[in-house]
Symmetry: C2
Subunit: 476 residues, 2 copies
């Protein structure tokens, strides 16, 4: 998961268009079929094997890298081996940002090396580096109140401590700081921005993540400090002495290149076969960890769920399409490309489920469907409830990669993973296989297969959503 989950501006640009078949109830045979797959999923091995294989044999796979290409080849091989139909790649133009090396040291009032990392898309420093006094604020609002005279020639330090909770809500504020602090700081003449990591780990990992909104290049470097190192810098500021840091970064953009969305299907049968239930995860990862929770887990969950449907003995009525998206982290390139390339068929995408919030147990089922379909969704929830899943509201997010489809009217389901520890690992070097619990992963597969099987086999659908345009911009 890459981007701020809060929508800064949402413009409602269309209205609901309901189909005649919206909201019919779940037949008993579909319910029992879903329940059988749900229970089978809990003892599965496949999701774990996929997460293990992708993290151990491909590892970190940032967009545009050689490992990204290896991941695409891995995905094609894996889907083919598992028996998916219509396995293919759709080329995606992607940026190729290189982290390079980073050195950050406090130089006054005393010397200390600091553990930090460049934010995704950050430019580097001049070859000779930057050394400048630090100006500390605790929020983006406080940064916006600073004047040119206060920031000119200095380094802005935004010291906001991310809050931990199950829904990951603290990431909203923190990721907006990540994306917007450098804009405000650059406008006021700052030389760089340093933020406390948008993460909850008390271990000494700096947390990367995209710093660009809307693809506009950043004017100054953006750097994240581990929580422990933010403590060190804050301690120094609190002495009242002038605090300076020295920064040397070789981060840079390499020439743009290509990656690919990797697609495979469990084909439908009969008159609804050209309708699509889409299962989404992203194939790329940040470069620091092996991308186990973000998002090999999602890849494992959706492939294992689709494989259970494939092996259920009967073809589903609708086509279940798995899309492993390219270049999500650096700006949802695969998700946007898919929606553009498949614009004509978006109305045939009856619902989307994305898995991109780690392998924590699903605790809530939210939806974003036409209102007439809410009864149907409640029936579906009854099949999920034995997994310990609450019914949420109808304001579901749907996921970053499915966002472009959702904004074009596709309903989405949110199977909300417990994110209590997600931001301890997310976007850090510590995102490795050992953070994934097999039982929790299987509970996810059970939830996804239940929802996908029902969506693929019922007569009715979930209507359409209003068409919206999700523009993002930073507060001024």
């Amino acid at each position: 998961m890459a981007t701020p989950r809060i929508r800064l501006i949402v413009l409602v640009a269309g209205l609901l268009s309901a189909a005649a078949s919206v909201g019919q109830s779940i037949p008993a045979n579909v319910a029992s079929g879903a329940a059988a797959l749900r229970d089978r999923a809990l003892d599965g091995e496949l999701a774990w094997e996929i997460v293990e294989s992708l993290t151990m044999e491909v590892g970190p796979r940032p967009a545009g890298s050689a490992a990204d290409r290896a991941a695409v080849a891995w995905a094609v091989d894996t889907m083919t081996r598992l028996g998916f139909s219509n396995v293919h790649t759709d080329a995606v133009d992607v940026p190729h940002w290189d982290r390079g090396t980073l050195e950050l040291r406090m130089t006054a009032p005393y010397a200390q090396p600091l553990v930090a990392t460049s934010l995704g898309g950050s430019p580097g420093t001049p070859e000779t580096g930057i050394e400048a006094p630090v100006v500390r604020v605790e929020s983006l609002a406080a940064l916006l109140e600073l004047t040119q005279a206060e920031l000119e020639g200095r380094i802005a330090y935004v010291d906001h401590v991310m809050e931990r909770d199950r829904s990951g809500s603290g990431y909203g504020v923190s990721s907006v700081i990540r994306a917007c602090a450098h804009v405000a700081a650059a406008e006021r003449g700052a030389l760089a921005t340093v933020i406390r990591s948008a993460g909850t780990s008390r271990h000494r990992f700096a947390h990367t993540g995209g710093m660009l909104i809307g693809g506009a290049p950043a004017k100054i470097p953006g750097i994240a400090l581990s929580n422990a190192d933010a403590d060190i810098l804050t301690h120094a500021v609190n002495t009242g002495e002038q605090v300076s840091v020295r920064l040397l970064s070789t981060a840079r953009d390499l020439p743009p290149t290509q990656s690919a969305n990797v697609v495979g299907e469990v084909p439908g049968s009969g008159e609804l076969a050209d309708e699509i239930v889409i299962l989404a995860a992203h194939l790329d990862s940040w470069d620091l960890g092996t991308g186990a929770i973000d998002d090999a887990s999602g890849v494992g969950i959706v492939l294992a769920a689709a494989k259970l449907i494939m092996d259920s003995g009967e073809r589903p009525r609708r086509t279940v399409r798995v899309v492993l998206y390219a270049a999500e982290e650096i700006g949802i390139y695969g998700g946007r490309q898919y929606a553009e390339a498949h614009a004509d068929s978006i109305p045939r995408h009856v619902v989307g489920l994305e898995a991109d919030f780690g392998p924590g147990r699903v605790w809530r089922f939210s939806s974003r469907v036409a209102e007439e379909a809410l009864g149907l969704v409640d029936e579906l929830h009854a099949l999920l409830a034995p997994l310990g899943i609450e019914r949420g509201d109808n304001e579901g997010f749907g996921g970053a990669d499915l966002g472009p489809l959702q904004r074009q009217g596709m309903p989405v389901f949110d199977l909300s993973q417990d994110g209590t520890t997600y931001f301890d690992y997310h976007h850090t070097a510590d995102d490795t296989l050992d953070k994934v619990d097999r039982d929790d992963l299987n509970q996810n597969v059970a939830a996804y297969v239940t929802a996908a099987f029902v969506a693929a086999n019922i007569e009715g659908d979930f209507g359409r959503l209003p068409v919206t345009t999700g523009q993002r911009s930073c507060p001024k």
Copy 2:
């Protein structure tokens, strides 16, 4: 704490010499004085302030570095400010090893960067690096069974998983692997040794630590992998394919230099004033973390305990001497220098207490005293018991820096910290202030002040130990 805690060979070279005053009991006024300081310690601020100051304002302070010199200056300033007497430095010749940079990548059967770090004292690689197949074993014994033909031109990988327990006993096996695997591997023609970290962290930190025994230089690089990265390498080995890694390290020895033991006293009063109760910790740290648990905590504990005695309203009968040792991590240079420089006065060191196992709560009180003093030690234990401290045996270790004094006959006390999580942080970048719990730290101060106050104020002493010579050697 730096070195293997198991003694590979111990030669008994002397016999017990008991003094007339050994083992007299603790007078009521001494017991009540100790209990009062013990209880006062639990609400103290000083130990925490010291740990905070040393970690935040000096930070990592490896032997021979500029920060090591800053730490010595910090210690002199701090002891002087606290009112210690006879504050001075004793110069210590120290090696100056520089970690440089390290790059370790798996190159076959697939490409993966690996998180690793050089072991202390490791030489670097040739400038062009090393690329070679990996031979994995699970123990030092298994490595010793390999032949020249099996290791020549290869990289030995010792994949032993350290066990977690309260006493830190798993570190014995793991640190012997760290110190001895490279010797066996080099003898068999290996190009380098890679070990799974001698640590219990499941976070992605590689664990450094000295790799030299007896100061002999290493012939080949020694590298530690984080546990997660050892999992990656082992997974690759288990595929049955040939596994190769590429290693490039610029680690090197810089010219030897000087550091210093920093000494300060709470002077005794009266006829026992020339006898010494020594409180020890080490001032240096590894370079990766800020040395909060290893060993700023020890520095805080012993300084705060001595300060409580200083402020008790009466001078102790014996002198309480705090020694903050130099260059412990890289080979106990300060501890050995002290014993040599103070050889004449070792008989006047009546007992030693070292704090070098982190800030976990003290759970056991072991001793290593003359047998006639065991009754006295049991009385002392009664004063420690309210802190939740068990009585251990009379086979106490005494600590690395006090080892040279103990082997010359000085009795020692072990106030054993709970080490359940110690090796999650020890010798890693994750050894930072936030891992220290204030209440646990104060419980330590309470235990140390109790024992030191009693030792400094009773008429009798703890006898003398047999003189031994602690030679270390690696198994062949």
